[in-house]
């Protein structure tokens, strides 16, 4: 549309076959952006704290070490929480749950959404209508409300958080998948595969999916970012892990009354969750930019 047609600065190189997998190419291309590396650094740091933290924690997360809301001291470097437990230890223990739950929820939601979106885009008949209507209905609930709705009847369960957070992503992923796939469905190579008589499933997986893997990669990053926020928020509202577990969201919930006296048990997990989401979002943005670039050059 704009730009100068026929002008391709870098001719596509005939690299080894494996490197031509589009999502891998997108990942490689995203390394050109500084934000990808900054995001990667931040994310890696927070993930390292979450995974390795328990090894370095000075105390058990449930051990009472001093009176409640003690300021930082040589015993408890960052002071104590509302029940007199070591803030640093609870922080170092508290990241695994957020990380694990949000990754599981993202994978579940993405898988479901991609399946629905692909089927919708390819059928384009009443099945498409029914599926997208159903997705619209789920879209009517803000994600957090949808999660709370199910928790209200089943109670705070970890598996339920994974399922509901995932389910709340599904309609959004389905829309993106369908939108991207619709463009591909229109193209003649799909018609060509139909004329050869290939099965529907092999057209979905062989012709459509590889052509939308870059936007889906971006979608994964985006959904992971939101999953982290949602999972942490559910814990923060008190419907995630239950006391006395060490969990970032729960820490904020338990200690926010004492915010003005002892800010650390609130500030620390808030900063960690914030950094993690910013980190994943920076990576996602780098990937998104790379995906656009690659899309352009192959469309030229």
């Amino acid at each position: 549309m704009s730009g100068i047609p026929g002008v391709q600065v870098a001719a596509p190189t005939a690299g080894p076959k494996a490197l031509r997998a589009p999502w891998l190419q997108t990942l490689l291309a995203s390394s050109r952006f500084a934000r990808t590396w900054i995001g990667l650094g931040i994310t890696a740091a927070v993930v390292a704290v979450a995974l390795l933290g328990p090894v370095f924690a000075p105390y058990s997360p449930t051990e009472f070490v001093a009176p409640p809301y003690e300021p930082p001291s040589s015993e408890a470097w960052l002071g104590t929480d509302n029940l007199g437990r070591d803030v640093l230890s609870r922080f170092l223990w508290g990241g695994r749950s957020v990380l694990g739950l949000s990754i599981l929820a993202t994978v579940f939601g993405l898988g479901l959404g991609i399946l629905v979106g692909l089927i919708s885009a390819y059928t384009r008949n009443w099945i498409d209508d029914v599926l997208m209507r159903a997705m619209d209905v789920l879209l009517a609930f803000p994600q957090i409300v949808f999660v709370l709705l199910l928790i209200s009847s089943v109670g705070p369960q970890l598996w339920l958080i994974v399922v509901t957070v995932g389910l709340s992503h599904a309609p959004r992923v389905a829309r993106v998948t369908r939108g991207a796939a619709l463009e591909v469905v229109e193209r003649d190579f799909v018609r060509s595969a139909e004329a050869l008589g290939e099965t529907r499933w092999s057209i979905l997986v062989g012709e459509l999916l590889p052509n939308i893997s870059s936007p889906l990669l971006v979608e994964f990053g985006l959904r992971l970012t939101y999953s982290i926020g949602l999972v942490a928020a559910v814990s923060f509202l008190g419907f995630g892990l239950q006391p006395p577990a060490a969990d970032w969201g729960l820490m904020i919930n338990e200690n926010r009354i004492g915010l003005t006296i002892q800010p650390w048990p609130v500030a620390l997990p808030v900063i960690a969750v914030g950094l993690l989401t910013v980190g994943t979002n920076l990576i996602t943005d780098g990937i998104a930019r790379a995906a656009i670039g690659i899309g352009r050059s192959s469309a030229a």
Partner: protein, 317 residues
């Protein structure tokens, strides 16, 4: 055109009906014998029986739904199981509080995001654009409670103790006279939605600025002001309208967490209390309300889109 709008209205009502099905299925139907589950610890046979009667739990599921829906349509939202008060009375005042909060946030967010989006699109790839893009990237990633608590840490504790950390609304005074109480929650909501809205506005504007009709307008020798305002903006606004509607609906959900952060007495607080107490009638009413808002905002966006898109507007001529 009218037919198009009526069609959308019909679809909206249909969606709303399905929303009610989901709400019902997720709460009453899913929890099985809700009464025993709810009163696990405090159950006495009499209370159990009363509760069953109230929720029509002795009826088959479909009849429970019909009775529940019938109640909704006639304005009977049921009684709260925790307080035994009518739900309508319980959430009535709070709806007003939340609506005011959302309204203040929206009145700031809509113009701000449009100006930011257009400005960075016009100055694409220059300093201002880069700074705004980076800022919105960071803000868009942060969960709203993180933004809220960060604002509290900055403005209500150690650094500057200028604003209240907790919104203490005085029910006896009109809400618009207690602006200082609302400022931080509204600001939090805005910081959560503006980046996204501005980003869509920018993307849409960038695309339009690259279009051939804008190139044509430049080649006709029109001054920049006319090119942007007359030729680009009317075309860029359409996607922004859709996203604005989605974000307004999101605000209705966003208040849930924000109200909890600031302990602001609105429907968000009620919903969280409801979930904590497993007070199904309250949860049902509020989630239906939020879902209904989404449908309504979308309908509004569709109508606006039809009105500003000549191709749709003239579809019947």
């Amino acid at each position: 055109m009218i037919r198009l709008i009526l069609r959308r209205l019909g679809l909206g009502i249909l969606t709303l009906w399905f929303v009610s099905l989901v709400v019902f299925a997720a709460t009453q139907a899913l929890s099985g014998d809700a009464a025993t589950a709810l009163l696990a610890r405090t159950a006495t046979p009499e209370r159990l029986a009363a509760l069953r009667a109230q929720l029509h739990l002795d009826d088959p599921v479909w009849l429970q739904y019909v009775k529940w829906l019938g109640g909704l349509v006639t304005g009977d939202l049921g009684r709260s199981m925790a307080t035994q008060k009518p739900v309508a009375e319980l959430i009535g005042l709070r709806i007003g509080n939340s609506a005011f909060l959302v309204l203040v946030a929206a009145l700031i967010a809509i113009p701000a995001s449009m100006v930011i989006g257009i400005a960075s699109a016009v100055r694409r790839d220059r300093g201002v654009d880069h700074v705004l893009t980076m800022l919105s990237l960071v803000l868009a990633a942060l969960p709203e409670f993180v933004i809220g608590i960060a604002l509290i840490l900055i403005f209500a504790t150690g650094f500057f103790h200028v604003l209240p950390a907790v919104a203490l609304l005085d029910d006896t005074r009109p809400i618009w006279q207690q602006f200082d109480q609302i400022l931080l929650p509204a600001l939090t909501l805005d910081l959560a939605v503006i980046p996204y809205m501005a980003r869509i506005m920018r993307a849409s504007m960038v695309e339009v600025l690259e279009s051939e009709y804008v190139q044509m307008a430049r080649l006709k020798g029109l001054p920049q002001r006319l090119v942007i305002l007359r030729h680009a903006l009317p075309n860029a606004i359409v996607p922004a309208v859709q996203v604005t509607a989605l974000q307004l609906a999101w605000l209705a959900g966003g208040v849930v967490v924000i109200e909890y952060v600031f302990r602001y007495p609105g429907i968000g607080q009620s919903l969280i209390d409801g979930v904590a107490n497993r007070d199904l009638p309250v949860v049902q009413a509020l989630s239906l309300l939020v879902g209904g808002l989404y449908v309504a905002f979308n309908l509004l966006a569709d109508v606006v889109t039809i009105l500003v898109t000549p191709k749709l507007r003239t579809s019947l001529q």
